[in-house]
Symmetry: C2
Subunit: 563 residues, 2 copies
């Protein structure tokens, strides 16, 4: 008799439940529930209060609706007996956080507080805490805080402490009334099984928590703001559990709403990209997993804690228990290709694509594939949205060199694909040359599914084989694996995620192998890329920042004129 678990993937716009067969990882049923309130970035629900620029909130009730809608839907579609569903796990965007009261209720559920935007969920891409992040990094540098190298030298404005500090600065009463600040992933688990059990992944990557050393010191938080001195003992209190731990059993109330049995094992929370790692079968070092979409998140396991330039974070047990989980990233990849298709492709190409009934992307890919490496004469720096790794600098911008009067759109398109591949090679080299070996690449997410040219270029540029996930829903599949671990082998699940991955993870049979003559040309182009990368990215010529300053001055003076 087969056993099953459910993985629920919480994205930016919707949540998706996937029912998985534990014997082979087969995805039996899938259901998506769009968030009723979506991303709240203009006006607050109810009060209609207008939000400032860079704000991005969510409604916690939307997360529960995913559980009570999509889980019954996959149960119904599959016809599986609830007794055979032995566990449920989730993965989430992060750091997506909220303030709760002592009963675990979001402060935005309180009639007297819901008019204050700070009582709501702050989505990962809420960018209004940049001042706090800048100040935090300054103070950490002045104090020589030991955590800095673990985060590539910089704590992001997207992360927990910056967001909490913003609340304290702008809404001290909300801060005061908060019993605890929690990751949304932990809050949803708490709703299912009644207890707050924080997880090691978000604690490590987003809340500066170290497996052995704990949070940064009281002195550090005091240096930020005396009112934050006790933060970690009070509003961030709570034990932190390893991934795959059983957070508890489904409550009677939630089991009824979800169509599952009371007491069904619930795994502690997790993060989307990180949950994808075991879902492609990666549970040991040497294998770099790329979650490829609008951006790329790179994840890698290591035996030791090494300092690697520009990584987003290294967290012991942060991805797979027993290993150091390394994370790095490129802040724009698919986004760059989409920008080009929207803004840089002439009518003639659009008409040609329409005539053939294919997308502009598909037509450009076919045309670009007719070129050999080097044949465009173009080279780009892929910094349309700054550089996350290895330079950690949001103020860098994109560059293309090599234009002639004969340059064609498909040549620019190919150059942009190549530039993002060079960006990934920078990250691969940074790991590999600093004691965290990278032998083979694994790709998951939206981009690898359709873009064969892109994947071949990545193989050629990195000189490494690339295996592609068989599942298009790897985060949910990963969450289902951790649910199987939380249920345990005795219940028909697995002892650990390594076992779960051995049975449930799959990659496609065909992989991308580097073509030696392409790799040889790309080695030469990468030398040129690296030289421009260092010239523009490491301060020799800070022209990109000066252009950005001039742009800000001009925009500001333009606004002044309008007023």
């Amino acid at each position: 008799m087969s056993k099953y678990t459910i993985g629920v993937d919480y994205g930016t716009e919707s949540g998706r439940a996937v029912l998985v067969d534990l014997s082979n990882g087969a995805e039996i049923a899938t259901h998506v529930t769009p968030y009723r309130h979506g991303v709240i970035d203009e006006v607050l629900p109810g009060s209609g209060r207008k939000l400032e620029m860079d704000w991005a909130l969510q409604h916690p009730a939307d997360y529960i609706e995913v559980l009570t809608t999509s889980v019954p839907a996959v149960m119904k579609e599959s016809g599986i007996n609830p007794a055979d569903v032995i566990g449920i796990g989730i993965d989430f965007t992060a750091c997506t956080m909220l303030p709760i009261d002592p009963a675990g209720q979001p402060l935005c559920f309180d009639e007297s507080l819901k008019g204050d935007p700070h009582s709501w969920v702050k989505l990962w891409k809420h960018h209004a805490a940049q001042d706090e992040a800048d100040r935090l990094n300054e103070i950490a540098s002045e104090r020589g805080e030991a955590f800095q190298p673990r985060y590539g030298g910089k704590i992001s404005s997207e992360w927990m402490v910056a967001k909490i500090w913003q609340i304290l600065n702008e809404a001290p009463d909300i801060y005061e009334k908060t019993d605890r600040f929690v990751e949304a992933t932990d809050w949803v688990i708490m709703q299912m099984c009644g207890e707050l059990k924080r997880n090691q992944c978000t604690a490590g990557y987003k809340s500066i928590y170290h497996h052995r050393e704990g949070y940064p010191s009281r002195e550090f938080f005091k240096a930020l703001d005396p009112r934050l001195e006790d933060l970690t003992a009070t509003k961030l209190r709570g034990e932190i559990y390893a991934l795959g731990s059983r957070a508890g059993g489904l409550t009677e109330h939630m089991a009824a709403l979800m169509g599952l049995n009371e007491g069904t094992a619930v795994a502690v929370g997790n993060v989307d990209a990180h949950a994808a790692v075991p879902a492609v079968g990666v549970v040991t070092p040497g294998k770099l997993v790329m979650a490829m979409g609008t951006s790329i998140c790179h994840m890698l396991l290591g035996e030791e804690e090494k300092e690697v330039e520009g990584m987003c974070g290294v967290v012991e047990n942060g991805i797979i228990p027993g290993y150091y989980g390394y994370e790095a990233g490129q802040s724009a990849v698919g986004d760059i290709f989409a920008w080009f298709v929207e803004h840089g492709v002439p009518e003639s190409v659009k008409q040609e694509a329409d005539a053939e009934g294919i997308s502009v992307h598909a037509l450009l890919e076919r045309k670009a594939a007719a070129y050999k490496p080097g044949e465009t004469g173009l080279l780009a720096l892929d910094w349309w949205n700054g550089n996350r790794s290895v330079l950690v600098d949001t103020n860098l911008t994109g560059l293309i060199v090599g234009f002639t009067l004969l340059t064609k759109p498909e040549e620019i398109y190919r150059t942009l694909l190549e530039a993002t591949a060079f960006g990934t090679r920078k990250i691969v080299d940074a790991f590999h040359n600093n004691g965290v070996p990278v032998d083979v690449l694994y790709a998951c997410g939206g981009l690898p599914q359709k873009n064969a040219l892109l994947m071949q270029i990545y193989a050629d540029v990195t000189g490494r084989e690339i295996k592609v996930a068989a599942s298009t829903q790897t985060p949910a599949l990963g969450a289902a694996m951790f649910a199987a671990v939380a249920a345990g082998a005795q219940a028909g699940g697995y002892d650990d995620v390594v076992e779960a991955a051995r049975h449930m993870a799959r990659v496609r049979e065909e992989s991308y192998q580097p073509i030696p003559e392409n790799a040889a040309v790309y080695d030469k182009l990468y030398t040129e890329y690296s030289r421009l990368h260092d010239y523009f990215g490491r301060g020799e010529n800070p022209v990109m920042k000066r252009l950005k300053s001039l742009k800000e001055e001009a925009t500001h003076s333009a606004e002044t004129v309008v007023k």
Copy 2:
């Protein structure tokens, strides 16, 4: 009673006759005759022989047809009495050259020779003599030839000696049968008045002729090829006349064909861009004339012969008698904007332009005009077709830096306009800082007519007033002025071109003045431009050339595969 002259402008595709009133420069009548054979770059007329890549020929009979069609047409349209037309002058593309026999007949008129492409007119943009030009420059450098600094260090493959040498190398029998090699402008004058009188402008700018020192030495030509030792005394022989000199009177035969009186004064030949200088009223130093179209030709008068980096040439009396005529240029300007409109503008912009019934250029200009200097955050190097001045390097390519995911087509368009303005400022600075002052700019040609934003940017970037030609036919107007000088004051013309310009040249009443706050921002952007200009253009990072080499290798290997 008014007197008149006719200026005939020989362009690349057609010839244009303009009948001008000498009292005020009014253009009374205009007529255009397209060349019957156009640009011959695929097959030879008659034999149908296929031409190699980079060849560009013309048919000399087409030039005569302009005289016998367009001159009678303007006479008829204006109703002017031929007795009141006291002179005719022409201007031409250059170096456009041909081999002639002792009677002055083109060798391609000879039935036995016309099957050889080398017997035809080689148009200015015939680019098949690059090997000869490279070798010539090498030998000149080895020998330390004194003429090199006068031509920015490099003699072009488009010029007379490279083209002659190609004929010698590839068709020694044609070379042997050639009595003289002549500029087409001199040949047309010869047809009108029966005598070959070479002009100082093409001799100076295209044939390495110096007013006092003459041609390069026999030793130099011998070093090129022993068979060339006597070139200047034989096949380039012929006295060289100042601009505005009377070449002779119209022959009875040609006068009849053209509808003018026998003996009408004919001025010596001239070059299109150079003839435009007096036509905008520039006959003294300090005023830089820009002939702005697909590219820009910059012309300036000086009191002394100075070494200015990257100029195309300095020729005493080469533009206006009594002054050193300096020439520099940008190899692509309007061509870059046209490339962008064709290859880089999305369907949505095209549809918006169509809906408004305006051109894409016009729509982009309006959108780009809404930005302040610096507001795009972008900066470009305008080297889509290499860099003519001041770097003299055809292997440089274009660059854009500053892209973000929000970059819009109109921002790129504005950036390209600005980049060409920075390119012009490099040339202005090179002259001004090396003892050839530039106080004010004059613009003529196609671009200044419609592009107000472009002209304002040029004023802001160069920090100088720009006056715009009132005439859209400045080369022909200039040719008519020199015709008035050839006729002389006694006949109702003028003593010299200064007098002619004083009466006949006009600029528009409104000029473009630099806006101080724009100029201040552009000074900062120009500093950034200059740094990138030097980094990429002066050898610190020769990435553009390496990309070009890789492109050539890839193209070559792609061709090998096809074979």
